[in-house]
């Protein structure tokens, strides 16, 4: 079963603004090939000030497609079209407390439906400018098309290059075979052979020393802190031991039933911020290790 947030489940089980809006004057029909999902967004826009008075969705799709559609309509109602166009797919995902990497395209579909609806209202033609491929890197949600295009555009030759340009492969490393397969294919098109011993064309990313790394971890934790404090909780850094980062959940977070989920979220932020795979563990485990 997917790791859906409570918010995703809630929007799926009780979607808001389902159905077509009466008297709609903007329609956006889009679909995502990678899931076969499709969405029709209908808007009623005030012609005087271009404010979205009402928004409704009809979705053929999975749980997160329905939840993303529902979230989108909630976000944009009351906005002007210009303000609504600034809504990113990440905003939709954030509104739902995150989406699994395989499901991020559901939020992309939402944003595209909005662009298509606005174009329809303004009498413009909307063209999609991105293509989706098979998901290769699950840590950073990077697909095959993105990797292929980056390899072609930048003459990349190694897995390390790909990681430096796209982040793909920079987490758990399980997708390195998939990245190599893409390199083999693209290099073959250029009449070249993939050689894993080729030196990387990209400069080595500067490796952080221990002090810099801990400072970076604290910066990342500081960026998450406001979210926790909103729920009257907090997190403190206790120790860093290689890939293991030990933290204390304090305030309302301490003993909260959602603590494990919160730790998961913190881990995700640290993995992305540090560009390496790390494990976030409660500090109690540090003690038990020391005693053991």
């Amino acid at each position: 079963m997917w790791d859906y947030s409570e918010k995703v489940k809630e929007h799926f089980f009780s979607p808001r603004n389902a159905g077509a809006v009466e008297g709609a004057n903007a329609v956006g029909d889009v679909g995502s090939l990678s899931c076969g999902d499709a969405l029709r967004l209908t808007l009623r826009v005030d012609p005087q000030n271009e404010t979205i008075l009402d928004a409704g969705f009809q979705t053929f799709g999975c749980g997160s497609a329905i939840a993303s559609s529902s979230a989108l309509t909630e976000i944009i109602k009351g906005m002007t079209l210009d303000a609504a166009l600034k809504v990113t797919n990440q905003d939709i995902a954030d509104y739902l407390d995150g989406l699994p990497p395989e499901k991020m395209h559901c939020s992309v579909m939402g944003r595209e439906a909005l662009q298509a609806a606005v174009a329809n209202y303004r009498g413009e033609e909307w063209k999609d400018d991105h293509e989706e491929g098979e998901l290769i890197c699950k840590c950073f949600a990077i697909d095959a098309v993105m990797i292929e295009e980056t390899v072609r555009a930048n003459g990349l030759r190694t897995v390390e290059d790909v990681t430096n340009y796209t982040k793909a492969g920079g987490g758990c490393a399980a997708c390195h075979e998939g990245i190599e397969d893409i390199l083999v294919k693209v290099l073959a098109e250029q009449g070249e052979v993939f050689d894993p011993t080729t030196p990387s064309v990209t400069a080595q990313p500067k490796k952080l020393n221990t002090l810099q790394r801990i400072r970076r971890i604290e910066e990342i934790l500081d960026s998450i802190r406001p979210n926790l404090q909103r729920d009257h909780g907090d997190v403190e850094l206790v120790d860093v031991d290689g890939k293991n980062i030990y933290v204390n959940m304090v305030g309302a977070c301490s003993g909260c039933q959602m603590a494990a989920t919160t730790l998961g979220g913190i881990q995700q932020a640290l993995v992305e911020g540090l560009n390496e795979f790390v494990r976030v563990l409660p500090a109690e485990q540090l003690k038990s290790c020391a005693e053991g």
Binding site: A18, V30, G31, L33, A38, F60, G61, C62, G63, K103
Partner: protein, 403 residues
Amino acid sequence: MAEGIYLDNNATTMVSPEIVEEMLPFFSEQFGNPSSLHQFGDKVGRALKKARQQVQTLLGAEHDSEIIFTSCGTESDSTAILSALRAQPERKEIITTVVEHPAVLTLCQHLEKDGYKVHYLTVDKRGRLDMQRYKDLLSDRVAVVSVVWANNETGTLFPVEEMAVWAHEAGIMFHTDAVQAVGKVPINLKESAIDMLSLSGHKLHAPKGVGVLYLRRGARFRPLLRGGHQERGRRAGTENSASIVALGKAAEMALESMTFENTFVKAMRDRLESGILAAVSHCFVTGDPTNRLPNTCNIAFEFIEGEAILLLLNKLGIAASSGSACTSGSLEPSHVMRAMDIPYTAAHGSIRFSLSRYNTMEEIERVITAVPPIVAQLRKLSPYWGENGPVEEPEKAFAPTYA
């Protein structure tokens, strides 16, 4: 049985209480290594011998030494196919089908990269193979034919016994992935031309982590794992004795239940299917309903998506599975649905209900009541659906820009 209604037995089955009981001593007092000479090992060795005979009886194999215990169905499949290739290095072709389980399909796709030529037999809209096409492909360049006995998604049965005879006449080894068929379809290997057959314990109420490769006596073989002399040197590694004992018991119980599966379980499946088809419009059975496993029913609900259906079923405690892309994390809806040319709008809404002898008719009636409102609820959200039915010419009325 745990709370809820479990109709996902083609994914995995509950371990029968009798089987759990049978295997428990092998975690405690019967801990010996079956290879050891002393009394601790000897008892375990005898238990494995009994399990081997129980599996032999279920499969109708001529000799108990034809049964090789492995860790799972996937290992059995890989061992069989790779063995055939290594034993006959001059043969560089494989024949299989487009609707195999990933255990065979992914391996074959990988072997293509190594220079092997793989022929994928296609299927018609009912999931049936073209036998003439199969016969035309048989040649002395083919190392092995690997064809699934019963499809895991639709339950459709392939005529593997017939296909094995033709392969034999052409001098080609024949392997079948019978993971779904064993225990539900009578099998008598000593009367067949099948050289290798894979089965998996957890599909027949034994635990996960144990499987079998049947290897006909005399069939040329190269082990996947070399090392100790376990399984007569054909599969090295200390035996998973508790699970092997469990699989033996499961084989015995499966044989006893074969008639029950083909009468009572089949009756429950048929009731479920006719109940849903009568109550829900715009849905149809996929695969070949006249020739399939007695426990499996796969229904495609048009204009809605499978994961959404599963989530709503799950909320009511009903477990099934779907051929939608979203449930697998892959790009495409199930390759089996695509192979049968089921339209996207239906393939994404295909739901597999797979029963076991532990289900009851009362559960089936509850599922029949639960499904129609779920389908109606999701269709209300669907852009392909109008007030009381699909919009006119749904594919034209809603033709989104795909990205």
